[in-house]
C-alpha cells in the first residue's frame, strides 16, 4: 500500500516537472507558439477535440484498424509460432523467409499495400497486422521452445497424443510468452495503422494529425497526439489485462510485477 502511494506520488511529480519544464521553456525561450504551443493551449485544444464528434469518428476508424489488424496478426502469429516451434522442418523451411520479412523495413511496403488495397481501412488493417505479426510469432515460438522438459516427460508417460500435448501442455505453458509477444504486437499495430494513415486516406487519427499540420494548427496537432497516446495506452492496458485473466497462475501476473 505504501509502495503504491509512493509510486503514485513519484508519477505525479514526474508529470508536474515535465509540464512545468515545458511551460517554462515556452515562456523563457523565444520559441514560436506555432512550433511549440504552451501546455494550456494543448489542453484547451485537446478538450475541444474531445467535444468534436468528428474526432470520435476518426478515433473509431483507427481503433477498428488496429484491433482488426492485431486480431489477424495474433491468429496468424500464434499458428505460425506453433508450427515453427513444434516442427523443425517447418522452422528450417520458413525461417529464411521470416527473417527476410522481418529485416525488411516494413514502412517501405506501406505505399505498395495502399496501391494494392486502396485508401480505405483494409490497407491499414493489413499494415497493422504485418507490424504486429512478428512479435506474436516470436513470442509463441519462444514459448513452445521453452516448455519444461519435465512437462514433456509427463505428456509422454501419460501417452498424450501430439494434439493433446499441444492443447494441455505446450499452449498453456507458452501463454505467458505469447502474451509478451502480443504486448509488443499491440503497440506496433498502433504504430503501423497511424503511419499508414499519415501516408494516405481521409480518415483516422493519423489523417487528422496531418490535416491539422497542414492547417498549421499545432496545438490541435498536439491534441491529436494526446488522443493517440490515450488510445495506445488503453489498448496496451487491455492486453496487459488479458494476462491477469488468462495466466493468473504465472509470476508475471502478480500485482507488483514491473510491467503490470
Amino acid at each position: 500500500m505504501r509502495d503504491r502511494v509512493l509510486s503514485l506520488v513519484i508519477g505525479l511529480v514526474v508529470l508536474v516537472v515535465f509540464v512545468g519544464g515545458w511551460k517554462l521553456y515556452v515562456e523563457l525561450s523565444d520559441v514560436s507558439r506555432f512550433v511549440l504551443p504552451p501546455p494550456e493551449d494543448v489542453a484547451t485544444a485537446t478538450w475541444d477535440l474531445a467535444g468534436d464528434g468528428d474526432t470520435w469518428e476518426h478515433l473509431r476508424v483507427t481503433l477498428w484498424e488496429i484491433v482488426a489488424g492485431f486480431a489477424v496478426a495474433s491468429a496468424f502469429g500464434v499458428v505460425t509460432g506453433i508450427a515453427i516451434g513444434e516442427i523443425r522442418v517447418v522452422e528450417r523451411a520458413l525461417s529464411p523467409f521470416l527473417i527476410a520479412l522481418q529485416v525488411l523495413p516494413k514502412v517501405a511496403v506501406i505505399p505498395l499495400l495502399i496501391l494494392w488495397l486502396g485508401f480505405g481501412p483494409s490497407a491499414k488493417i493489413v499494415i497493422a497486422a504485418i507490424f504486429a505479426f512478428f512479435p506474436v510469432t516470436a513470442g509463441t515460438r519462444a514459448g513452445i521452445r521453452s516448455v519444461e522438459r519435465n512437462h514433456r516427460d509427463l505428456a509422454t508417460t501419460l501417452q498424450a497424443s501430439r494434439w493433446q500435448q499441444l492443447r494441455h501442455i505446450d499452449l498453456p505453458s507458452s501463454l505467458p510468452s505469447i502474451l509478451t509477444g502480443m504486448e509488443v504486437g499491440i503497440v506496433l499495430a498502433t504504430v503501423g495503422a497511424i503511419v499508414a494513415e499519415y501516408l494516405a486516406g481521409a480518415e483516422g487519427l493519423g489523417y487528422l494529425a496531418t490535416f491539422y499540420l497542414n492547417q498549421l494548427q499545432v496545438d490541435a496537432l498536439f491534441g491529436v497526439i494526446v488522443v493517440m497516446s490515450a488510445l495506445g495506452l488503453l489498448l496496451y492496458g487491455a492486453v496487459l489485462g488479458l494476462r491477469r485473466l488468462l495466466v493468473p497462475w504465472h509470476e508475471s501476473s502478480e500485482l507488483d510485477h514491473p510491467s503490470a
Binding site: L154, T156, T157, H168, P172, S173
Partner: protein, 259 residues
C-alpha cells in the same frame, strides 16, 4: 513369471565429446506387489534406469518387460505397457495452470473420462492422500510436501500396476519426509502396486523396500542386492532399532567399497 523384468538393460549416451556409458547391463526382476529401492551415488545412472523402465529413455541394449509386454519392442514405447505404469517425478512436476484436482485428474482427462467422473475420482483420491481441503488451489500455493502428495495422487489416479518414484522426497525436510514415507508405504500396500523407488537415502530405501539394489558409479552396475527382512506395516520407530541401523550401515559400506 516376474511382473517387471529388466534384462541386460544398458544405456550409452553419445555426445560430441565421446560416448558415455551411463548404465552397464542391469538385470532385475520384481514380483507383483514387490517394492525395490535403487540406491547409489549421484550420477550412477539410477535415474536413467528408471527412465528406461518408464518409457522415457530408450535403452541402448536389453529388454524391459512389464507384465509380459516388451516396452521397447516397437518404434514407440508399447502403449499397453505404458498404460500400466505411473511415475512420480523428483520435483512434483505439476502443471502450474491447473488446480490440484485438475492436476490429479489429468491422466483421466487425456483418456477421455468425462469431467464430472474424473473430478469425482480425483477428489476421492485427494481425500485419501490428505490434500482433500486443497483441491481448488493452484500448485504454487502449496508447500513442497503438499505438491508431492498431489503428484502421488496423480500417479495413482489411473490405477497403475507399476509405480516408479524418482527421488520423490529428496527436497523435503526430515519430518515431512518421514510422514511421506509412511504415507507412501500405506498407499503402496493399499494399491498392491509393484514399486521402484530411486533414492539416495539409505534409511528411506531400507524403510520402504523389500529389496535394496545398490548401483556403483559410472557406468551404473549392480553391486549388491539386499533383502530387507522387516515385517510390514513398518512403523517409524523401526528406524531406531539396531537391526535397521545395522542394515543401513552395511549397505553404506557396500557402496563405499564399490566407489
Amino acid at each position: 513369471m516376474a511382473d517387471v523384468e529388466l534384462l541386460g538393460v544398458a544405456k550409452r549416451f553419445d555426445s560430441r565429446a565421446g560416448a558415455v556409458d551411463a548404465l552397464a547391463p542391469v538385470d532385475l526382476q520384481l514380483e507383483q506387489g514387490e517394492v525395490v529401492a535403487v540406491v547409489g551415488p549421484s550420477g550412477c545412472g539410477k535415474t536413467t534406469l528408471l527412465r528406461c523402465t518408464a518409457g522415457l529413455t530408450r535403452p541402448s541394449a536389453g529388454t524391459v518387460r512389464l507384465h509380459g509386454r516388451d516396452l521397447w519392442a516397437g518404434r514407440r514405447p508399447d502403449a499397453e505397457a505404458m498404460r500400466s505404469l505411473a511415475i512420480v517425478f523428483q520435483d512434483a512436476n505439476l502443471l502450474p495452470w491447473l488446480t490440484v484436482e485438475d492436476n490429479v485428474a489429468l491422466p483421466l482427462q487425456l483418456r477421455g473420462v468425462p469431467r464430472k467422473e474424473r473430478r469425482r475420482q480425483a477428489a476421492e483420491l485427494c481425500e485419501r492422500t490428505g490434500i482433500g481441503g486443497f483441491t481448488r488451489h493452484r500448485p504454487r500455493e502449496l508447500s513442497i510436501g503438499m505438491r508431492q502428495r498431489v503428484a502421488l495422487s496423480r500417479a495413482l489416479v489411473d490405477s497403475p500396476r507399476l509405480l516408479l518414484l524418482d527421488e520423490p522426497f529428496a527436497s523435503l525436510d526430515a519430518i515431512t519426509r518421514d510422514a511421506m514415507n509412511l504415507e507412501l508405504q500405506r498407499v503402496l500396500a493399499d494399491s498392491g502396486c509393484t514399486g521402484v523407488l530411486v533414492t539416495h537415502s539409505m534409511s528411506e530405501a531400507v524403510f520402504l523396500a523389500d529389496r535394496v539394489v545398490s548401483l556403483s558409479a559410472r557406468p551404473g552396475r549392480v553391486v549388491d542386492v539386499t533383502a530387507v527382512p522387516f515385517a510390514r506395516p513398518r512403523a517409524m520407530a523401526l528406524q531406531h532399532t539396531s537391526g535397521f541401523q545395522q542394515l543401513v550401515h552395511q549397505l553404506r559400506c557396500t557402496l563405499g567399497e564399490a566407489a
